[in-house]
Amino acid sequence: MQTDGSRPLLRVDGLSKRFPVSPVWYRRSNSFVHAVDGVSFEVARGESFGLVGESGCGKTTTGKLLVRLMDPTCGRIVFDDGDEGPVDVSTLKGKPLKRFRRKAQMIFQDPYESMNPRRTVFDTIVEPLKVQRMGSHLDRLDRVLRMLGLVGLTPARTFLFRYPHELSGGQRQRVAIARAMVIEPSFVVADEPISMLDVSVRAGVMRLMEDLAARLEIGYLYITHDLAAARHTCSRIAVMYLGKIVEIGETETVLQSPKHPYTQALLSAVPVPDPTVTRPPVRIRGGVSPSLDPPARCRFYDRCPIADDFCRDNEHPPLQDKSSGQMASCYRV
């Protein structure tokens, strides 16, 4: 969804990441895990874009590629926040890379490990400002105190010099959010920011992220395996299966009328709050097959309830428009 017809904040084109299976640097491996395999999508400015899928399908890897924590095997990531011309993230180096790091941040999956245990809350939040040499010491202190207020850690001064072990999980995740937001980025990858949190604080953290997004006009890549959370936060979502995007579209349409058999299976696993509604159960066979050197055919073939010989003998189906902007990669729907 492009809000004003202008260029998207982020355009991902054929992004792939393969991990060699015998990672000895001097020996070429000929076996690869295809963690992310030819993924394309766009994120508009200020938009929350959801990435859902089961464990191990490559969500975190995609997120890390987008903030350049890893180098992609191939594909392009064009980032354009309107400040300066569009840049290809996957080839950035040196100064331009450091400038890009002011604009793209990541909130990590595990709040217990994403703070250095030997550094205080202040040290953690101020780090991006410090390495980017932004502001004087007092300016930075100001901004840290303000961020602490924004993420609801008040009174801010009592939190400044606490160590991570003196904080609860929810408070740590708030610190992680404050840290990601303190340099006012235009794009944030939020990797299951609430999955490790207690149910009672999830809503608060989610509301906080939405608040900040609206206030600072941040585009999110919101990674989750929780469809309810995705529905709540994201305007559009992509469903991933074994490194491929199998369905992409407006969140409501995708969740109301899923086209791809995998999305249908995912949804049938989610309990429906209304007891009068019965959804036909969609059964899928087996477990996740490894993405280790997968055959060329449809990734979902082994588990697909409606697969036929055509699926077996042809390549992985391309993403096709199935109904007004809702795309799915399946030959049979």
Partner: protein
């Protein structure tokens, strides 16, 4: 955005809070150290020897006559027979060359400390950087550093020192540097690397990279501080091994040094008294006991530090 600026005084009081917190941590660690007991004994012995070392120059310039009590060129004219047993004038007796043993013991303590600390500091500086760099960069940097470590570990330390002492004069300074380099690039570096490996995979390292921190920033700010506790531990162990190596090499007469505990035993041995413990015990016991005590004290302090930095080892 519109929030009033923090006044300068807030900043100052924040720094005071920060210092207070550091002091609290120190106090907590000290309590854990004391609870571990053996470390306190070790520390007491170390302080005792440090006082001996510090007292030597004072005694030499006040009550001790230089021509008699100099640890290297002094000679006790009052004794009829050398080595002379302990007496009031010479509390620990004299050696076969008529020199005061207590003075030798105290004089040597200082150089043992300097040797130990030099070796330890060099070891830890090299070991920490080697470990952090190998773990952070991986790949070819790791391979090169670890093969170098293999060479250092395989190198038979004493034989290398024998060859080196034949080629160049090895004194305390050189010895400290050699031991530091051998153990920093060798065993200590490898141990610290294995610790660093568990640090570099932590999400906070990736968070620092996303923030724009370069390798140097990440290694110095995130990796090294998490290695420091273990480094301190190895610092203590290096002191032990440095003092011990020095004793062995001096005993073999391989070092170009004027006086040391090992050399005292060497003198005893070359005068033929080493096997006559009952006859001339004061020649052997002071020096060998000092070597044993000081070495084991640093080791004990290391063990207690291990309990402090390794909360899993702490008793409940």
């Amino acid at each position: 955005m519109d929030v009033q600026r923090a006044p300068r005084s807030v900043d100052h009081s924040l720094w005071r809070t920060r210092l207070g917190l550091a002091a609290d941590r120190l106090r907590e660690n000290w309590a854990a150290f004391v609870r571990a007991r053996v470390g306190v004994i070790g520390l007491a012995v170390i302080i005792f020897y440090a006082l001996l070392a510090a007292a030597h120059p004072v005694l030499m310039s006040t009550v001790w006559d230089e021509s008699i009590y100099d640890p290297v060129v002094g000679y006790s004219f009052d004794e009829t027979r050398q080595p002379a047993p302990p007496s009031l004038r010479h509390p620990l007796g004299t050696d076969p060359l008529g020199r005061d043993i207590l003075s030798q013991l105290m004089f040597s303590a200082r150089s043992e400390f300097m040797l130990g600390l030099l070796a330890a500091v060099v070891t830890v500086c090299i070991g920490t950087m080697v470990g952090a760099a190998a773990a952070y960069f991986g790949g070819i940097v790791d391979t090169i550093l670890m093969r170098l470590a293999d060479i250092m570990i395989m190198m038979p330390g004493i034989s290398v020192l024998i060859v080196l002492s034949a080629l160049i004069g090895v004194e305390h300074l050189e010895l400290g540097l050699i031991i530091g380099v051998l153990s920093g690039f060798g065993g200590t570096g490898v141990v610290l690397k294995s610790q660093a490996l568990s640090v570099v995979v932590k999400p906070y390292i990736q968070a620092a990279r996303v923030a724009g921190g370069g390798p140097l920033h990440i290694i110095l700010v995130h990796v090294v501080p998490n290695l420091l506790p273990l480094s301190f531990l190895y610092m203590m162990f290096t002191v032990t091994s440095a003092i011990f190596s020095e004793a062995v090499l001096s005993f073999l007469g391989l070092l170009d040094i004027r006086m040391s505990w090992g050399l005292m035993i060497h003198t005893t041995e070359s005068a033929g008294y080493l096997t006559q413990v009952t006859e001339a015990w004061w020649l052997i016991f002071p020096a060998s006991l000092s070597i044993t005590l000081l070495c084991s004290s640093f080791y004990l302090v290391g063990r207690s530090l291990d309990e402090v930095v390794n909360p899993r080892l702490r008793r409940a």
